[in-house]
């Protein structure tokens, strides 16, 4: 961002003093609230299309060519719907919950870098800030569920709180491994630590044994944190209607969706930053056009992560509540702790090839043992009455 600030300050040299500062503050804010919601709108369309393909149907294709105006139509529909508040609801909290759902999700984007030196805010506590903010999102789910005075809503809220708090732990520990390797909490420094000459791609953390494990842990944690489908028991429609947003309608419901999707996109962005080399890619350090190329690589990787999310959503069945908790505490948490040990080994072993083998063996053996332990008994062979 500094280069751009200098450019702007140069442009407005003779103007009043506060102007460059005001612009320097306004540009990142406008970028975050302008670009990412647009990505959100088209994520919903892509998601419906992709889910349609998975389920052998077309998906939206009526509004505009290939359904390209569908997000606009959805938005208009939700805006014009009646806003129903249950009579017994806690009015103020009921009103506040959707707002609270959006704010942390938007704030998350503040630390996601999209090009060299181009990050809305370069905090030196970057990743820690992201985790601090993302914990606040659980409050929105709780407030919404509690204020609705509906048993299903309350059940959804309780499930949401338990789930988010549980998955926060392995997710943060997975990030600790990256922070240890990069030696900094700043997202720019973390991306910078993944830079390497020659074939740039092998500098990415995901191509180290601990990085791969961390990537998987973090992606699962992020999915659970934003209550995406394999982990969407807070809003499991076949069990508790719609969970915490059962009693929400119209634009408040849309705000909940916005918050959920923005959180998922932001988490995908942070995953890209921490494990997939952020904006790094061929040509990202060229003068002038490098910024554009970097942004292209970043958004390409972001799109891939979003598509991965959609793919998982379309193909995986929802987990049960007990499976969900057991998975977080009995598999993910020990793996995350071992991953930190693996990073330590990696850091202190001079011979990287040997370190690769040692850490890969350690993590692989640990995974096999954990998988054996947590497997719930033998799965009987199903016998079908009529199909065989």
């Amino acid at each position: 961002m500094e280069t751009i600030y200098k450019l702007i300050i140069g442009w407005f040299a003779g103007k009043p003093e506060w102007l460059p500062l005001a612009i320097a503050i306004a540009v990142p804010i406008l970028f975050v609230v302008g670009v990412y919601p647009a990505i959100f709108a088209y994520t919903t369309l892509v998601e419906r299309k992709a889910l349609g393909r998975v389920q052998n149907r077309y998906g939206p294709n009526r509004v505009g060519r290939w359904g390209i105006l569908q997000p606009l139509a959805d938005g208009l529909k939700l805006l014009t719907k009646e806003d129903i508040v249950p009579r017994d609801a806690d009015k103020f909290t009921h009103f506040l919950a959707p707002v609270m759902a959006v704010i942390p999700s938007v704030l998350l984007f503040a630390i996601v870098p999209i090009a060299p030196g181009l990050v809305p805010v370069n905090l030196n506590i970057g990743i820690l800030f992201a985790f601090a903010i993302s914990t606040a999102s659980v409050l929105a789910l709780f407030m919404g569920g509690w204020a609705s005075r509906n048993k299903f809503s309350l059940l959804g809220a309780m499930r949401a709180v338990a789930q988010v708090v549980s998955y926060e732990v392995p997710m943060v520990l997975a990030a600790v491994a990256v922070v240890m390797a990069a030696g900094s909490l700043s997202t720019l420094d973390i991306v910078h630590a993944q830079k390497r000459g020659g074939l740039e791609i092998f500098g990415w953390f995901v191509f180290r044994p601990w990085g791969f494990v961390g990537f998987v842990l973090f992606a699962i944690g992020a999915m659970a944190e934003s209550a995406r489908t394999p982990f969407d028991i807070p809003e499991a429609e076949s069990e508790i209607i719609a969970g915490y947003h059962t009693e929400y309608s119209g634009f408040k419901f849309a705000l909940f969706q916005l918050g959920e999707y923005l959180a998922a996109i932001a988490m995908a962005g942070i995953t890209v930053t921490m494990f997939l080399g952020g904006y790094l890619g061929p040509g990202c350090h060229l003068p002038y056009v490098g910024l554009l190329i970097s942004a292209f690589w970043f958004f390409l990787k972001l799109g891939c992560m979003i598509l991965l999310n959609i793919w998982i959503r379309g193909t995986w069945p929802r987990v049960r509540v007990d499976q969900l908790m057991g998975f977080a505490w009995k598999v993910l948490l020990p793996m995350a702790l071992l991953n930190i040990v693996a990073v330590g080994i990696w850091h202190f072993m001079g011979n990287k090839a040997l370190a690769w083998v040692v850490t890969a063996t350690l993590l692989g053996v640990a995974f096999v043992i954990l998988a054996k332990i947590s497997a719930s008994g033998n799965i009987e062979k199903r016998t079908y009455r009529y199909a065989n």
Binding site: D90, T93, L123, N124, I125, L128, F129, F131, A132, I133, T135, A136, V138, L139, F142, M143, W146, R149, L154, M158, V161, V165, E168, G183, S184, L185
Partner: protein, 169 residues
């Protein structure tokens, strides 16, 4: 900067007052969260970024959520205290003691002796890396003691809360 101090202080004190005076327990916790946010903002204002982030992470992400869970497990879900008296019989004694404390504390710090401000030359920034090095350097013993304390608290909390189940078996 001055305006920021007064605004944030107002929010903080308002949150604190509401947290101990509202009737509905869940509303109390939500005001408490407002208070925690205000305190975190004060930390950011005082340039203690790390402590501010830790404040949000631990107090809002863990303590407030824990309190909400405890309310859900011990009360009817509305969180209302019902028609019964919320305030203890000796409320005036507690209020007088608190008012006296406030008066004494204000009196003690109102002297000019403590009104120090930092000199501009003294602005060496303490970053996260310094704090990290401190944890494994000079402060390693308190750090390990903290780790033991937290583990003990974790086990203790589980044992206390699970007591009922053990009896039932």
């Amino acid at each position: 900067m001055d305006y920021a101090f007064w605004i944030i202080s107002g929010i903080t004190v308002l949150g604190a007052l509401l947290a101990v005076t509202l009737r509905n327990l869940v509303h109390c916790v939500l005001s408490l969260i407002l208070f925690f946010l205000g305190i975190a903002a004060h930390y950011f204002l005082l340039r203690a970024d790390f402590v501010g982030a830790v404040q949000i992470l631990i107090y809002i992400g863990a303590v407030a959520v824990l309190i909400l869970f405890a309310i859900m497990l011990t009360r009817n879900v509305t969180g209302a205290d019902g028609p019964r008296e919320v305030i203890g019989v000796k409320w005036w004694a507690g209020s007088v003691i608190a008012a006296l404390t406030a008066f004494l504390l204000s009196f003690a710090v109102s002297g000019d002796k403590l009104a120090g401000t930092i000199s501009p030359g003294d602005k060496a920034y303490v970053g996260v890396a310094d704090i990290g090095r401190g944890f494994v350097g000079d402060w390693v013993v308190p750090f390990e003691v903290m780790a033991v304390l937290l583990t003990a608290a974790l086990i203790g909390a589980v044992v206390i809360a699970l007591e009922e189940i053990r009896h039932r078996r």
